[in-house]
Symmetry: C2
Subunit: 190 residues, 2 copies
């Protein structure tokens, strides 16, 4: 037993890319964007994870950027306090059409990451194709297919909104990876 | 006189791009970047503004992104508490070589903006060319020319580090704009 604990600890230290295994986790998934940041928190204690919180942090188009950053940060902090996640996962290297879009998306992501890191949460990023692959079975799945599968997997009464569904899909993908015996190169600390 | 005040007030309400005039300000300038975010705080009460704080928030290359976001946010919060700025200015639409760079720069900027906005600071962004124009006299000035002029204008004993100099130049440019009778389209709320 002592040996198992010790080797588990060593493995976690030696390879930060390997998510911490063993025991249920409360996982916060986030899909950051300026006007609609999706979030979802699941508790993996049961075979069908419990959905503790999910939704979209909306910022109207006429809000200045800094007000959006503030709302994203404050809402996430509120969610952290209410649901006490043990780990967070965000969408990894994501698609941006152009430099302008990349700057805007990057800013929403930076506001989110700063908030998570200040709460001392370990944050992992998961490649978008990996999320679709893990949830729907193929990497080019449509958003609606992801939402429907998330609804089924979490036994939700209603179809989640698209951004919240993406965030829940990220959390579910992370949950699946915990039990995987091998480190997954598409999931890494950020 | 009454008319002037009234119209001044109307103008300020009608045009949020016009910085608040009247009286000295404590201005925080920031030049956000992942590995070296420059900052500088000046107090405009005297003809030669007092430099309350300046420096670079460094994040080593081997730190994960979220740890950098945390350091940027926590250091800025510390600076806000120590120097109590009345306004903040960041570099505006900035140059990014490619989408990857834009994402990284955007994230540092998002971490900074979230921190400023949560402290209820109004934040303005200033076009980079405008800063060089205001400080050195031409928009394509080299970094060292900016640093030397900042040193002179603030009567600093030592040449400021490049990132801190850029941040102080942003603060100085904002200070100049306060006394300008017309709204400057290259300075706008963010």
């Amino acid at each position: 037993m002592q040996q198992r604990i010790a080797s588990g600890k060593d493995a976690a230290q030696a390879d930060p890319a390997k998510p911490a295994g063993g025991g249920p986790q409360i996982i916060l998934g986030i899909d950051p964007s300026l006007r609609g940041t999706g979030y979802g928190v699941i508790d993996t204690a049961q075979a069908i994870p419990a959905t503790l919180s999910q939704g979209t942090i909306r910022c109207p188009a006429d809000w200045p950027l800094s007000r959006c950053m503030r709302k994203i940060s404050e809402t996430l902090e509120d969610i952290l306090q209410k649901t006490r996640p043990t780990i967070a996962a965000v969408e990894g290297l994501f698609y941006a059409q152009n430099i302008r879009t990349a700057l805007v998306m990057g800013q929403a992501r930076g506001a989110a990451l700063a908030t998570l890191a200040r709460a001392e949460l370990d944050v992992f990023e998961i490649a978008p194709r990996k999320v679709k692959q893990a949830i729907v079975g193929y990497g080019a799945a449509q958003k609606e297919a992801v939402a429907k599968m998330v609804q089924t997997r979490l036994a939700l009464a209603k179809l989640p909104e698209p951004d919240a569904a993406d965030a829940l899909a990220i959390a579910l993908t992370y949950a699946q990876s915990i039990d995987s015996p091998l480190p997954d190169p598409s999931i890494k600390p950020v």
